[in-house]
Amino acid sequence: MGDLTNLLDGFANVVTPTNLLLALVGVIVGTAVGVLPGIGPAMTVALLLPITFGMGPTQALIMFAGIFYGGMYGGSTTSILLNTPGESSSVVTAIEGNRMAKAGRAAQALATAAIGSFVAGTIGTLLLVLVTPVVVTFAISLGPPDYLAMIVLAFIAVTAVLGSSRVRGFAALLLGLVIGVIGIDKVTGQQRLTLGMPLLADGIDVVVVAVGIFAVGEALWVAAHLRRVKSQVIPVGQPWLSRQDWRRSWKPWLRGTALGFPFGALPVGGAEIPTFLSYVTERKLTKHPEEFGRGAIEGVAGPEAANNASAAGTLVPMLAIGLPTNATAAMMLLAFQSYGIQPGPLLFQRESTLVWTLIASLFVGNLLLLVLNLPLAPAWAKLLRIPRPYLYAGILFFASMGAYAVNAQPFDLFLLAILGLLGFGMRRFGLPVLPLIVGVILGPIAERQGRMALQLSGGDASGLIGGPVSFVVYALVALILIWPLLRKVVARPREPSRV
């Protein structure tokens, strides 16, 4: 297989002193920022995206591979030690993880999370290497209508499957799509929604939107409700695992990986379902059922592995089709786009070296993460004690720096303030932010594909609907949309499951 050679070339590209240093910096910065309370992996990538603007794409992506896994791991540290997960995907980890920490087993919880993340990340990245080329072979035959269908599926998936209220999800998606329309229409040169402002003619940069909604919105929202009581941070020693902990952890790691990767790789995936499934599975299979609810190591090992494997899985549709299915993948897609590179099936032909270098650096970053995090865990835990005024002032500081760096114009900072207020309002009213971000990123692509499809069919509306692939995809969309109705019909009387 040529892929193996490509991957080895990728490793050769990463293993230069400069690039290894970049990967190391990425892992450290990613973990450090990810550990900070209130900052999840997606915000970590969004905040750190602008600092790579001066680098070449290869260097930037090597660093981002580190930031990606570092941010993921940092988030789980926070949820274990503080019990208030910043990301919905770490909710499950927090259940048993925090109880372990309270029972004086914080070190073991962090160790099983770190090693589990490493195992899941490595297997997940291996699967990524195996699966992505297959998806690419399939995706390369797709035409504009098929793409349009898949983007519609991604829209519906992030709004209707994740999150609790569909109408709020759709509201957020539409806001994102409208933001995506702002600017000059690429085909006709007409200005849309620019309010006559020349600075809006190029549209609003997605980085500014992401930083505004994730970082500024979050900082403002927390500022309005800042907890006056200091939260309890549990002290940790050196993470280690006893023989028995190993014996109890390794199977959950593998099972978690097996659950996480496929869910991540599906366009309707996400990490919430597999982490939850993994938790339920481990609770059923454990030989120590009495410990569940009081800090069972299996309950940390499984979901944490599922979380990381699903993160690796989300890179499959992101790289092969250009579809992000969670916020972090959306930010990685953005990292590509900011270099004028569009992920999708052609990526592997046009930017072969770049992709394989990225994949190789995912392996390297994952290893560095393990090597760093076991000894550094106590230091990361200290970061949780950072005084909150400094923490949120720092978020605003870095958000401003990043947004300014995009175009070097103060106008973006005003946009950032407006978007921050929008993010604040969305948090207040329970509108999910992911559909908005996905809408901004994919909306313009959807419009382009749709118009291309109509161009190919000479304006005939049937061109929009396309062929067999898009039929299947639209059938899925329809299924997701009518699922709540179906569930009512199919619903069997069942005990309400409690977690």
Binding site: T84, L174, V178, V222, P389, A393, L396, M401, P410, Q455
Partner: protein, 170 residues
């Protein structure tokens, strides 16, 4: 969980109608803007730039109505939880307004004063607004942070940050 009890006890959240109104107004604005566009179609582009915003505008209106119905039937969005968030205390609008003011001040001053000064003011001001009372420490951190970011990112990594009045000194 006390916070959940409070959520159910709190009376219905009427401010949500404001969100519906906002969505509806945005929908109308998007449609008006689109209808102002010239009818530009060609064989290359059979539909032109208008249909997409018009569809979005209509969908916004539909969502606004469905949302309003949901609110009328007692639906409410769940406010976001977080590590440092205490939803039991009423929102402090003063903090938010002051933060936005500090933020906008940075936007106004950044090109003139440069990132090192305006960024320091941004950090220091935000920290004070957020309740920090160690003014000197805060200022010291602010200055160190903006100097470090300026040298590391602007000079080291080629990120564009303005030097402003300190041009030539830094």
């Amino acid at each position: 969980m006390t916070s959940q009890q409070n959520t159910t006890e709190r009376s219905e959240d009427r401010a949500q109608y404001g969100v519906c109104a906002f969505l509806a107004l945005l929908g109308v604005a998007v449609i008006v803007d689109a209808s102002r566009l010239g009818e530009v179609t060609s064989s290359n582009d059979p539909i032109g730039p208008r249909p997409v915003p018009i569809i979005l505008g209509v969908l916004l209106l539909v969502v606004a109505v469905v949302y309003a119905v949901d609110v009328a039937r007692g639906g409410r969005g769940e406010e976001e939880h977080g590590e440092d968030i205490d939803l039991n205390i009423p929102a402090s609008w003063r903090t938010v307004a002051l933060l936005v003011a500090v933020f906008v001040a940075n936007a106004l001053l950044i090109d003139w004063l440069g990132w090192v000064i305006s960024g320091s003011l941004l950090f220091w001001g935000s920290a004070i607004v957020l309740g920090s009372r160690r003014y000197v420490t805060g200022l010291a951190i602010a200055i160190i942070l903006s100097l470090v970011t300026f040298y590391a990112f602007a000079i080291g990594l080629g990120v564009s940050l303005p030097a402003g009045v300190l041009q030539g000194i830094l």
